[in-house]
Symmetry: C2
Subunit: 171 residues, 2 copies
Amino acid sequence: MPTLIVGANVKGKPNYMTAAWATVACMAPPMVCVALNKTRYTAKGIEENKTFSLNVPSVKQVVETDHCGLISGTLADKSTVFRSTYGKLKTAPLAEECPVNIECRLFKSVDCGSHLLYIGEIVEIHADASCLTDGKPDITKINPIVYAQSAYFGVGKQVEKAFSAGKSYRK
Amino acid sequence: MPTLIVGANVKGKPNYMTAAWATVACMAPPMVCVALNKTRYTAKGIEENKTFSLNVPSVKQVVETDHCGLISGTLADKSTVFRSTYGKLKTAPLAEECPVNIECRLFKSVDCGSHLLYIGEIVEIHADASCLTDGKPDITKINPIVYAQSAYFGVGKQVEKAFSAGKSYRK
């Protein structure tokens, strides 16, 4: 699972929490989704503004990333863990140190039980110029964090090209 | 993103497709979600039976995995790409060669535009004994496939423990 930072303004102040239960939900229009426990402080901000951000931290930000997963915004002010900027949406704080930031407008929330699945339409994606190759975000430069079994991992080496390796398949 | 194989019976026959737009949607009850283009053959099977499986292939299965993403079930019979078994749900085919198989009962589908987001309640999880450490699935033994920028990657080395590394954070 990808390790991400969910940004939301709560009572007008940026808050950041760590999440790994997130993925792409749609291609056209482009959407993402993220599952948050209903009790999360961040959930209040998403409900309040109907906006949020997904930020992709690099392995370099692993301490800040884990900090945002360890402590709730109800107990600690996490507004300065990252430098916050705003893009097209004026209420979705973007974590500047993270190489990729995705601005989302809430499309729908689905009540699944303990968690709400927030589905957001992507309004804009920002990427650090230093992470681009031929104008596109490059995972080897972003160096994102894989989350599994209560630990953070790097991304390993490329194994194969997609839409290519399968051509050698013969029944 | 995790590279997964979605299994569904279509007209009574197993079909497998590759997907990377999937994540956990809820903890209690445990749920997952996966986004599928509306035109997918697999989507017909999910609608038909209200069940599906998510199978976690290992790097060893990268050719079969890519094959299932290259060609549609409308054009090719993919029922024998993997050996199929069934668990508690009698209509969600499990790809035996994949070290982890998740049986899901459809909870809800959300129309997002080009894609339907299928949310499924987990009914059972099967894992190969060879992939367990102290009775739990071990990512270093599963050796799953990370998908990004039209390529497959392995998982890299562990960087930090979660709920731990952040304790060294000081403002």
